[in-house]
Symmetry: C2
C-alpha cells in the first residue's frame, strides 16, 4: 500500500490518507478482505499522529470502504464490480437549456402580474418581522399548520369581513403559496368522472391548463358586458369558476342582476358551487370597492379565493381559499398531513403587518397611486392612438384591456414587444378557444399598470406604437 503524504498540500492530512485509501480500494489495487496495516504502524510509517490515521479509518468505516474485526484490525470491504467507463456528471448544459442572469435594464413593464415595490414599506415589514421573531420564535421551530397559522387565518377572516363582506371562521380559511396550488387541491378532492367545471373565456389560462392536467371536463363560457354568460352553462356542470369583481382579462364588473342569476344557478342543485377568484378587487377607482359575490353566500354556495400578490408583492406567495363548511370536512380528512407551502416567517409577519394597520394604509396609498397612473396611461393612449384604440375602461384592478386597430398578428406583436424590451401580454394568451385572427383587424392587449413609473409612460406608449406598427 503506497500512500504519499505531502504536508504542503491543502486540507487536513487525514483527508489525504482517506482519499488515497479510497482510490486504492475503488481501483482494486487493494483487494477485498485485504488486512490493512495497524493504525500505529501506519502512523509511524507515514510520520503522522495516531489520531490522523484514526480519523481516516473512521471515515472509511462510516462510508463502508473498510470493515473492522475486534482485536484483528481493519479490512477492505468487498465492493461490487462496476464499469469505470460511465460518464460522470458535469456542469455543462446544452445551449437550448442554458439560462443567463436576466438583465432587466431598459425594460418597461406593462405586465398584469407585476406589482410596484418602490412604494412598498419594506422598513415596516422588517420591523414587523423583527417583532414576530421575538414573539413567535417557538412557533417557527415547528412545522406550520397545514392550513397556515391560525393567527393569520383569524386576521384574514377579520380583514375580508370588513373589506369584502366575506363572513367566515378562521377554520374555513386555507392558506397556501398560490391560488394555483389551492385550486389544484380543490381538484384533487373532486371526482373527474362526475364533476364538470365551467369557466370564463377569455379567462385565466393557468386555471384552464390545470383543469386539463387533471383531466376535468371544462366548459368555456363567453363573457359579455355583464360578465360570464351564465345562461349558456351546460346542465351537467356543477362548478363555476368566475372573477365577478373584475373579470380577468376583460375587466367587466358583474352587476347584481347577473350575480343573482349565478347564485340561483348554484342554488338549484345541491352539488353546485361557485368559485369566486377575487384576485385584484382591492383596487377600485372612482367608487368604493365592489362587495364580493361571497357576501351573498346563500346556503354556502360560494368558495372564495384571495391573494396578497397584488396588494403586497408577487413574491410574497400567500394566497387563501375560504371553503364552505360542507367542503371543509372533506378537505381536512384528505389534506390533514399536507405540508403548508407559505413561508412561516412571512405568514406571521403578514399577520402583524395587518394587525398594526400597515396593510390597509398601504392598500389605500397604492389605490391613489394606481388611480393616478391609470388615468395618465389612458390619457396618453387615447392622445397617441386616437381612434385606433378602444380602451375598455372599467375603473378597477391593476390592468385594463385595450383594443388596437392593426393588421399585425398576435405573434408578430409579441415578438416585436420582446425586441423593444416591452413586457406586455396580448389577449391571445387568455383566449382559451381557437381564434381566427384573419377575421379581425382589432387586437386586444392587456395593459397592466402596477409596475410602470410615471416617467416611463411616454416611452411605453412609443414602444407600443412601434409594436403595433401604428
Amino acid at each position: 500500500m503506497y500512500i504519499l503524504i505531502d504536508k504542503k498540500m491543502p486540507g487536513p492530512i487525514y483527508k489525504h490518507i482517506y482519499e488515497q485509501i479510497k482510490s486504492l480500494i475503488l481501483s482494486r489495487h487493494l483487494k477485498a478482505h485485504t488486512k490493512l496495516p495497524s493504525k500505529r504502524d501506519l502512523a509511524k510509517t507515514l510520520d503522522v499522529s495516531l489520531n490522523t490515521v484514526i480519523n481516516a479509518f473512521e471515515q472509511l468505516l462510516a462510508e463502508g470502504y473498510l470493515y473492522s474485526i475486534e482485536r484483528q484490525g481493519y479490512f477492505v470491504e468487498g465492493i461490487p464490480e462496476y464499469e469505470f467507463t460511465h460518464i460522470k456528471a458535469t456542469k455543462t448544459i446544452p445551449e437550448n437549456l442554458r439560462e443567463k442572469l436576466e438583465d432587466r435594464t431598459g425594460w418597461i413593464s406593462l405586465s398584469h402580474m407585476s406589482a410596484n415595490t418602490e412604494n412598498f414599506p419594506f422598513k415596516l415589514w422588517q420591523k414587523c418581522q423583527g417583532e414576530v421573531i421575538e414573539k413567535y420564535g417557538d412557533e417557527l421551530s415547528n412545522m406550520p399548520h397545514p392550513q397556515g397559522p391560525y393567527l393569520l387565518r383569524e386576521t384574514i377572516a377579520d380583514l375580508i369581513r370588513s373589506t369584502r363582506g366575506v363572513v367566515c371562521a378562521p377554520e374555513q380559511i386555507i392558506i397556501h403559496s398560490s391560488s394555483h396550488i389551492l385550486l389544484e387541491q380543490f381538484l384533487v378532492l373532486q371526482n373527474s368522472e362526475s364533476s364538470r367545471f365551467a369557466m370564463e373565456n377569455p379567462g385565466y389560462a393557468r386555471y384552464y391548463n390545470l383543469f386539463q392536467q387533471y383531466r376535468f371536463d371544462v366548459q368555456l363560457l363567453p363573457v359579455d358586458g355583464h360578465g360570464v354568460k351564465i345562461d349558456k352553462i351546460d346542465e351537467k356542470c356543477n362548478f363555476l369558476l368566475i372573477t365577478p369583481s373584475h373579470q380577468f382579462p376583460t375587466g367587466v364588473i358583474m352587476p347584481i342582476s347577473r350575480r343573482i342569476e349565478c347564485l340561483n344557478w348554484a342554488l338549484a342543485r345541491e352539488d353546485r358551487y361557485i368559485i369566486e377568484d377575487d384576485y385584484d378587487s382591492e383596487f377600485k377607482y372612482k367608487t368604493d370597492i365592489i362587495p364580493s359575490l361571497h357576501s351573498f353566500n346563500f346556503n354556502e354556495k360560494v368558495i372564495y379565493m384571495g391573494t396578497f400578490s397584488k396588494t403586497m408583492f408577487p413574491g410574497l406567495r400567500i394566497s387563501y381559499m375560504v371553503l364552505p363548511v360542507k367542503l371543509l370536512e372533506k378537505y381536512r380528512s384528505h389534506f390533514h398531513g399536507l405540508i403548508q407551502s407559505s413561508n412561516a416567517l412571512a405568514t406571521y409577519t403578514l399577520h402583524k403587518f395587518i394587525q398594526d394597520g400597515h396593510y390597509l394604509r398601504h392598500v389605500k396609498k397604492m389605490n391613489n397611486h394606481y388611480e393616478m397612473i391609470r388615468e395618465k396611461l389612458i390619457d396618453q393612449l387615447t392622445s397617441h392612438f386616437n381612434d385606433q384604440v378602444h380602451v375598455s375602461s372599467v375603473p378597477a384592478g391593476l390592468h385594463f384591456l385595450a383594443y388596437f386597430k392593426t393588421k399585425l398578428s398576435y405573434e408578430a406583436i409579441e415578438e416585436k414587444a420582446k425586441q423593444l424590451k416591452l413586457e406586455v401580454y396580448t389577449l391571445r394568451r387568455f383566449t382559451l378557444s381557437p381564434i381566427n385572427e384573419t377575421q379581425n383587424d382589432v387586437k386586444g392587449i392587456l395593459i397592466g399598470f402596477a409596475n410602470i413609473r410615471e416617467q416611463e409612460l411616454v416611452e411605453a406608449i412609443l414602444r407600443l406604437k412601434q409594436c403595433l406598427s401604428l
Copy 2:
C-alpha cells in the same frame, strides 16, 4: 322612496343613502325601471350635498343596482327573482371542525420534523434581508422565475458541490417550497401506466401517499443494515426513491458497496433513475459528512433532492431538486409557466445568507450542539431504560430509532404521549405495509432531538417511561 338620514350614524352619509336604496331595490319596494328622483332634488329633500348623492348613485351604478340614460336620469335595474329564505353564511363551525389557538405550554418535543430556532441567527437573517431589499427590490416586483431565482440556484450549486459532491449547473436546480411539491411535479411528468416506483419500507409515509394519490405502482423494498435491499427490486421498476445518507427512519448509512449495487441497477436500463432524498445529511457526528450518492452520478442516473428545513428552520419552505439534463428538458416544457412557490424575499435572503458565510457557520455550530444533545439523550435513555431499550445508534442526522420492550400497542403509546404533552412519533407511522403488533413486544420510537433543550432531557425520558409503562 323613503330614505332616513341620521347624521349621528357612523360612517359617511353617502353610504347610508346607498345602503337604503340598495335594500329598497332588493326588497322590491323599488320596482324595476322605476325612475329615481334627480340628484339635485334628492340632495335638496335629504338636506345633503349634491356630491353625497352622486357618490351614492355612482356606487349603485357600479354594482349594477341602477342604470342611467343620458339626459333622462337614473333607473332601477331589473333584478332576477331570488328566494329570500336562503340561509346566509355565518361564522359558526361544527364542533368537530373547530380549532383553538394551539397552546404549546408544557409540551416537550421529540419530533423529527422540528428544528431548533433558539440558536438561529435571526439578527443576521434580518440584516441579510435588509440588504437584499436594497439590492433586489426590482426583482421583487416581478413574478419569481418558475425554478426560483437564478442567483440562489447558482449559490446552491456551489454549496452542494463543496459540501455534498453534487456537480450540477444552476439550470438543473428547481426550487420549491417543499420536497413534496417537487416529487409531485416529478410524478406529473411520468406516465402512471409505464412508470413503476420502488421505495424503502419503513420509509417516508408522505411520499408513499403521494404515489398512491397519483395512482403509481409502488414496490416497498425492505431495509437492512446496509439500507434498501436493492436485490429485491422488481424487474419492472424504473424509479428508486431512497435516503442513502441517513435512511429514514432507521438511520442506516448506505455503505459504498450497496451504493454501487444501486447505481449498477440504474445503469442497466436507460429508463432507470434513482431519486436520492438527502433530507438531513448535513448533520454527521464523529466523522465527516458522507458524500452523496449523486457524487457518483454516472451517466446522470441520480436525481438529487435537498432541503433547508433541517439546517435552517422548517417554516422557511425552501427545498430543491437537481434534475439530470435529460429530464430537465421535459420538466421545462411542461412546467415553464408554473408559479414558484417559495417566498421571493426568503430565497434572495438565503442567497445572501449563504454567500456571506453565515449558513455554513450556523450548520457547523448546530452540528456541535446536536451532537452534544444527542449523546446526552442516548446516555439518559440507556441509564433509565437499561436493557429495555435498544438504541439504533448511527451518529448522523436529527433523529435516531430506539426500540423499547413493551406490551403496549402503538396506538396506546401515541395516545398516552398526547396526554403527557410529549410530541413523539412511533415507527408505525413509517411502516408502509400492514404490521402484526401482537407478534412483537418491541416497539420502535423515532427520537428526534432537534428541538429539545438540554434542561428538558430528563423530563422527556420520564414522560417516555410513562408512555411505555416502563
